[in-house]
Point group: C2
Chain length 305, copies 2
């Protein structure tokens, strides 16, 4: 199934206890596209960058076979730039600089040929833009949406509408608590699913992820990592793996959704091994499947005797 | 296999957002014995209580078939009393009152007939007392130990010796970080296992538990609970389910250890449904096995396709 990705394409400056990069390719659409492309074809990227966008980065997308018909270079400004510093435990970070640049006027126009895409990934952007995308696509099989605390507090109404219109919402535990004002995650999930999403995924970082649906709860473990180099983009990469694998599987059912959550976790576990999206440039399907098997082994509960 | 349980028997006063009890049967040895007795026979309890210990509570142990040869009533004082109040999110609590009473002079003397017990559970007591127990038992098949921050900071040397002499250490994530001074749990686990424990279980509350051994890591999920009535004793109950099931299985291998971690989690998930140890009085093996199956269903990762 075709995958449409709408989100930011950016340059990131990242400081972490593990090192520092001044300017590396980032943005939600970048991570989602690169991760999903390991499974899906075509992957269609809608995003906007400025005149300073490197030819080598555009070449990366092309080399990976990502469709760039919806990719716009705006010569009037520079590419979205974000700079942040992670704390010692890697669980929190400070934003040091945000320059929206051309992204400030990002208006996602979906090319005609993209509008029939079967899976739609709405990266973490203003929910009113996410709604604009939903208005343009034609009966996708699955719509998937991410968001963040900034929109939960600052664009609540549009966000509620988005949540009521998408099939899958992917958020982290903190965001789930912020949306509902409830601390118990099981109650949070119930409250959020009442808003209209069919499937809710709550990511819990080093504690794995939960998938809530009508029928059941699925608890996916996290991969035990002794070293995280850079957590940037892990959430977007999760969405990419999740959507990409569902596209590859070609059937959306409970079993495949579980597999998709694990493939999302697998891709995220790779992502954090290097700075920015570097690890997503070099993986093989063999690496990915091997780690999928490691996730399975990690969580097998033998039957009763 | 026979199970020897050494720990505290106490009365607890518990306040939580869900209610309040002034005085309910508690203590690590109580929870461990009651939970393990669903699987194991004999279960032998070594503990001490005061003149105020209720006949009805002693009757409970007897009715459950718990061996009380090592259970001492000290007529010179009252039973250990603890009072605490849980915060809104149930993840933390304040101690309001601690009266050690007869427990202050607890000196675990293991009756001759208990010394050959195959599984030894060292509840959360002074590590120098845990060592005293280890000195008295004769080549048990498995020794299991719990501890807490109080001993990590206050009785470090004895605790290190205990850790080096037991087979299984069961602690929570906070304690693992405190023992090692390291925030990454995978690194913590490596450091603690180097101290001599064969199997390390790190409990993560609502995020499940990890079992670390030579061969592998096992990630057990937590049961998704929308309501926790009272978390008191959940950790002790985990140990009871873990030890009890291993006793029942009669073979200590990787598969059975995984099952034991899940049975421990099952018993703990029941424990928190009512105040104190009340839920542990009324369960059936059918309830327990049904929840075991629910844990399995929760975490099944389908094979790749």
């Amino acid at each position: 199934m075709s995958v449409l990705v709408v989100g930011s394409v950016a340059y990131d400056g990242i400081e972490a206890p593990t090192g520092k990069v001044d300017r590396t390719l980032g943005g939600s659409a970048t991570y989602i596209s690169l991760a999903s492309r390991y499974f899906a074809n075509p992957v269609r990227l809608v995003g906007t960058v400025g005149y300073d966008f490197e030819e080598s980065d555009k070449k990366l997308f092309r080399d990976k076979g990502i469709d760039l018909e919806g990719f716009k270079v705006d010569e009037d400004g520079k590419t979205f730039f974000w700079q942040g510093r992670y704390h010692e435990n890697m669980n929190s970070r400070d934003t040091l600089d945000t320059q929206l640049n051309v992204f400030e006027h990002f208006d996602p126009v979906i090319p005609e040929v993209y509008r029939g895409s079967r899976i739609v990934c709405l990266g973490n952007i203003d929910p009113s833009l996410q709604l604009k995308v939903l208005d343009q696509v034609r009966q996708p099989k699955l719509t998937i949406c991410d968001t963040m605390n900034f929109w939960i507090s600052g664009a609540r109404e549009a966000l509620e509408e988005t949540i009521s219109r998408v099939d899958v919402l992917i958020i982290n535990d903190e965001e789930a608590r912020e949306i509902t004002g409830e601390s118990n995650l099981v109650k949070c999930a119930k409250m959020i699913r009442k808003k209209g999403v069919k499937y809710l995924i709550i990511k819990k970082g080093e504690h794995g992820a939960h998938l809530y649906s009508d029928q059941e709860v699925f608890a996916a473990p996290a991969y035990p990592m002794s070293q995280i180099t850079d957590p940037t983009g892990a959430g977007d990469t999760f969405m990419g793996g999740f959507a990409g694998w569902l596209s590859f599987s070609d059937r959306i059912n409970e079993e495949n959704l579980r597999r998709a959550v694990v493939y999302g976790s697998v891709m995220a576990s790779f992502c954090v091994e290097k700075f920015g999206a570097d690890r997503l440039r070099e993986l093989t399907r063999f690496d990915i499947d091997r780690r999928y098997d490691a996730f399975r082994k990690l969580s097998v509960i033998p039957p009763r005797i």
